[in-house]
């Protein structure tokens, strides 16, 4: 799984659902959770958390323009590409953090991805989990 250290900056809740904004380096990621500060006391601005999501939920974009509903966009540089027959594992360096995306090999070739390319990693907020981080990661 991808695990990035972050600090909670805001929590907005409605019923049982919350949108939690987490600062990860220069970026802000949003996690959509079925949890509130009431059920999970660690959901409070200022607390350290791990931002967790699966590699297969990370899309990649190159030279993106136009408007996107996705709010979770991380700039990174491709550090490694491992191609299989159907899939490709693309490792990014996002401001010193390692982030992995598993996409189809076709998609990787259509984007002409190469080591050193600047790309954007995209994750839907509902795919993002948070983990309590008591130990400083």
């Amino acid at each position: 799984m991808n695990r990035l250290p972050g600090i909670i900056v805001a929590v907005a809740s409605e019923g049982d659902i919350s949108l939690v904004d987490v600062a990860v380096g220069e970026n802000t990621l949003t996690a959509m959770l079925v949890e509130t500060a009431e059920s999970a006391p660690y959901l409070e601005a200022g607390n350290a958390v791990s931002v967790l999501f699966k590699e297969t939920e990370v899309s990649l974009g190159k030279d993106l323009s136009g408007r996107l509903s996705l709010r979770n966009r991380l700039q990174g540089e491709i550090a490694d590409i491992r191609k299989g027959k159907l899939l490709a594992e693309v490792t990014l360096d996002c401001g010193g953090h390692r982030l992995v995306s598993v996409i189809t090999r076709r998609a990787a070739e259509r984007l002409e991805l190469a080591v050193g390319d600047r790309v954007e990693a995209l994750v839907k907020a509902n795919e993002v989990m948070l983990g309590e981080r008591a130990d400083g990661l």
Binding site: M32, A40, S50, G84, E89, M129
Partner: protein, 302 residues
């Protein structure tokens, strides 16, 4: 409701071990003593029931002191209101199901309660049968009903389901939970099955070498960190297959095998035989109604 602190020296195959346990349970709580190996867990239940005498300590249930070494109090087992369910059922083989229950009743004339128990455990139709003619799952239902016949203040379950097959086991886990909630019965169980601990317990106490090494809610105790994912299951890794740039893991959860994809990095510290936690989000699963009539195909599939 239950307050216990006890110490006892045990002579085991691995040498001398000192059992040293403290625990508390509130009314209606389901507490599990968990430990992969070694002694102490069963001894702890036996001390509560009065079948084994602690070297030191104190046992109080609902404000009543059952054992206190320093005050010289040691209530005999028959006066301690516990229901004890053993792994091997321990039913009287020469008595019918109904008679097995009747001799455990606090008041032998309390036929109404006896009937209620038979209904509740769904063993009404078996009441005239002898235990030897019943399946393992049925015998354990009878054993559970008998444990409740004393109207216990405390239910003690010593690996109650470990002799049963996967499916029966899962069904009885649900039964135990239903009964435990129905009577709001404070329950202490011994188990070494992680899935069972997760499914049944409010709190778990992990015991190793006679000592408590962890305690808390199962999700807290068995995962290193708390995680927001709403779908959490623990399972055992049965197989790992490299596929393309990823790995397919076959994982046993309860009595089902599921397959999940993991990356090379995740596989660095996971091997066949490991216990793993699977976490997903409440947003991911598709929800589909199951046709209660399995013979009929739903229109969309035909």
């Amino acid at each position: 409701m239950l307050e216990l602190s006890l110490r006892k020296n045990l002579h085991t195959a691995e040498g001398n071990v000192t059992l040293d346990i403290e625990l508390e349970a509130e009314t209606g709580q389901f507490l599990t003593l968990f430990g992969r190996s070694g002694v102490g867990k069963t001894t702890c239940l036996r001390c509560i029931a009065g079948l084994t005498e602690p070297d030191h300590g104190r046992i109080a249930v609902g404000g009543e002191i059952w054992f206190d070494r320093t005050k010289g109090i040691d209530i005999p087992p028959q006066k301690r209101r516990v229901g004890f369910v053993f792994q091997d059922y321990a039913l009287f083989p020469n008595l019918s199901v109904r008679e097995n229950l009747r001799i455990a009743l606090g008041d032998p004339k309390d036929e109404r309660y006896l009937d209620e128990l038979l209904e509740l455990m769904d063993i009404r139709e078996l009441e005239r049968r002898l235990p030897t003619t019943l399946s393992g799952g049925q015998q354990q239902r009878v054993a559970l009903a008998r444990a409740l016949a004393r109207r216990p203040r405390l239910l003690l379950l010593d690996e109650p389901l470990s002799a049963l097959d996967g499916e029966t086991r899962q069904r009885l886990q649900n039964e135990i939970l239903r009964i435990q909630r129905h009577f709001r019965m404070t329950t202490l169980m011994v188990s070494h099955d992680l899935g069972e601990v997760y499914r049944l317990s409010d709190r778990v106490i992990v015991i190793e070498g006679g000592r408590t090494v962890a305690r808390g809610r199962p999700a807290e105790v068995f995962s290193n960190r708390r995680i927001s994912g709403k779908f959490q299951f623990t399972g055992e890794v049965l197989a790992v297959e490299p596929n393309d740039v990823v790995f397919t893991l076959s994982i046993l959860i309860g009595n089902r095998v599921v397959q999940v994809i993991a990356t090379a990095q995740e596989m660095q510290d996971i091997q066949v035989g490991d216990t793993v936690m699977l976490v997903s989000k409440a947003f991911n699963p598709l929800v589909m109604k199951v046709d209660r009539n399995p013979g009929r195909l739903s229109p969309s599939r035909s």
